[in-house]
């Protein structure tokens, strides 16, 4: 308990960032802080005139780029696994076909399984290398930052506007703008929980796709562990097809 409080004091007392880029760097350092993470989610997508769709899955992450997803439901998807080794290296294990397929880069732009999330937002673990930021607002509770895409970056968003909570140093809302400067998606992160002063995560993440009749998907956190000691071998192709555990 004493350690927790001491950590909180040190974390909260860290020097305040002076400009937009510094705020983004702070955000990145908080998000990629844990060595590894295990998160279990339920992803609910609601679309006007359609039945709600629920997908449940576990996400294992390590470092900045490695990510493995295991699908738990619905029945059609159960057993399917995906692996991201780098922005250009993505694989999927298809249990019904007993084979691994490499995913084409262009599939990143498509909605993830018909949800409002796409691989593009999900793979942007660090924002500072992608966007040049400008501090728009600095209040007691929030930083508002506008990030403009840096030259040569391969993301479909020309601009993002983030509202970052000062207490957890993570985003409360992110607005994504396309190449024409039009707001295309809005992501909201709600109900932050913290395992210790440095490590917090949102229990609910909502994404609204304004280009698809306000299609809304909501991620609900069911389980969250950090620094569980995931081995590098867990993020290999062979582990993907063997379904090996940590």
């Amino acid at each position: 308990m004493t350690g927790f409080l001491l950590g909180a004091v040190v974390f909260l007392a860290s020097p305040a960032p002076k400009d937009g880029d510094a705020v983004l760097r702070l955000l990145d350092s908080v998000v990629t802080g844990p060595k590894d993470q295990l998160l279990q989610y339920e992803l609910l997508t609601t679309e006007a005139g359609k039945k709600d769709r629920l997908i449940s899955f576990k996400v294992f992450t390590k470092g900045k780029n490695w990510r493995r997803v295991e699908f738990l439901g619905p029945a059609d998807l159960r057993g399917m696994r995906t692996l991201v080794r780098s922005p250009t290296q993505s694989y999927v294990w298809l249990p019904a076909f007993r084979k691994v397929r490499r995913l084409a880069t262009h599939t990143k732009e498509q909605g993830f399984m018909g949800t409002s999330f796409s691989e593009h937002e999900m793979s942007m673990t660090e924002l500072a290398p992608i966007f040049k930021a400008k501090l728009l607002e600095n209040t007691d509770k929030y930083w508002k930052v506008e990030g403009v895409r840096r030259k040569g970056q391969d993301v479909p968003f020309s601009k993002i506007v983030l509202t970052i909570r000062k207490d957890v140093k993570q985003a409360a809302e992110t607005q994504f703008y396309n190449n024409d400067g039009m707001l295309v998606k809005t992501e909201r992160r709600l109900d932050y929980v913290c395992s210790d002063p440095k490590h917090c995560t949102a229990k609910v993440i909502e994404m609204v796709d304004h280009t698809r009749n306000a299609l809304k998907s909501q991620l609900k956190l069911k389980e969250w562990k950090i620094d569980v000691g995931l081995k590098d071998s867990f993020f290999t192709l062979r582990a993907l097809q063997r379904g090996a555990r940590t």
Partner: protein, 615 residues
Amino acid sequence: VVITSGLTTVASILSFMTMDVRPMQSFGLFTAIGIFSTLVLSLSFVPAVIRIADSMFKGEVQATNAGIELLRVWTVSIARWSALHRARIGVGLLLVAIVCAGLISRLKTGVDMQTFFNAGSPPDLAEKFMQRYFGGSQFVQIAVKGDANDPHLLREVRRIANEVSMLPKVTSVSHVGDALALSNSAMTGAQRIPDTTEQVRLLYSFIEHEPAVGQLVRPDRSELLIHVRVEAAVAAEVERVVAAIEQLLASGAIESYRISKATKANALRLRSVVLTQLRVLAQQHRWVVPEERWLGHVPGALMRVPQNLDLDALTKRVEHFLLSKENAVPMSESSARSTALALVELGEGADDVQILDRLRRLFPTWDEITLEDLMFSAVGPVEEAWQQQRASQHAADVVGAMGLSRLSDAVTSKVEATMFDLYSPTAMLPSDAADARTATYAVSGLPVMRRGLSRSVKRNQLVSMGSALLLVLVIMSVVFRSGLVGLIATVPTLLTLLVVYGGMAVMGVHLDIGTSMLASLILGAGVDYSVHLLSAAREDGSGDVAKAVSRSGPAIWINAIMVAAGFLVLTLGDARPLRNVGGLTAAAMLIAAIATFALLASVGPKVVARSARRS
């Protein structure tokens, strides 16, 4: 006169209630209520207005009377002339009636673009644009109820779609099997419907959120749709396509089935399905294949599954996979070559244990985990490579049997994908067993709805006209206290109906929901002229034609001209059905007036006088 006219019109319009088209029933009911209300006002409000008008505008009314006097004199002279030449006029009108009755048999029914809009109108131009560049705008749907996760049903749906696509005027057919095959090609390289339910279910999860797929299969996968695009714009042509599809489903669709394994019936069934697919490919790519080849050479080639596969080519396929990034164990070119040779040597259908054992002997220094990884990576792709090699050689044989020379790679891969279906270990066969799986097929879509409407219009036309005639006849007989007078009163309107419907046949105007109203409208309004004339004759009681016409003629003409003018307004719009109803009703009013003077003036007054004397 007013009461009789009003009641006959109300009765005619009420005959719409016998129709089975809801809007027409509502139209009939509310129009009848409206006319009845007008009748009540005519008997209460109008006399009061006339009285006031008489006292206020005496001079002007006198002036108007001079015009009416002229109309009266002219009409009396026509009636006198008709009475003098009644035999010739009677024969002439009888001939007209016979000719028109004959023409009615040529009257077309059916609803299409031509019945709604004029040539050159924006909707007509849009239809032509769709036909020229997109294969038409008419869609017929085949609704299939069954398990859309079952690959066998999906292949049956594809077979039906293939057969439909070969019908004349059908430009394209789409179904969910196409989307699944495309998705399967991303997973396995073969654009075909996969073999297992698990594979189908997994592929659905990748594509079912796409709006286009949502139009082909229900989210619970209990029903799917085949969309058929038809390039015909004329209702008759579209109806022929619908009938052909219905015939095809009645004669060939399997509605109750079982999944059968490795029987001769299976092989024949699979061959028939593949043969249909090849015919569709031939049609799409305009291959000229003589019919005798389809009947003899091609089925023979399909049954001869290659047994001696080109092992060099097969080894290259396996090697290609081993060197790809999808192999979990990165390999050098020489290792990949030796592994490919070893795996091919094992033969087709080697299981996990055999493969692992062979790999252990090939790479004795490798650790067990790496060997297992390699086995796990290779087992599926090696199995696929055998099938691909067989399909490739088989496709070459079949293309040769069709008498075709070398095809492009893209087309060759389509033929190869088709061959895969021949090797399916199971097939769908008809079954009457109690536990048989079921699938039902129903043709639907706008053309089917239009056909139903067209049939309804025909039936409604006969029923509503019959009931309107009967009601009018009864009212006239009661009012004039004579069945004969009632019958005579309806004759001019009947002749008018024959002329109008005959004219429609000559002008190519279809009997549609709009023109089907004509009979009741004409009957209701047209019979008023007989009522006017016969009432005048009854009041006079002398049987003198001139007197009866003199009393009623101007009223009949004014009535006819006013009703005709009212309906003529409808011809100013763009919508063809309204123009048709407006123009034809206007013409009918004038024809009914002329027919009343020509037919009724010569015999009506005398019959009425005789009947009045008798009663």
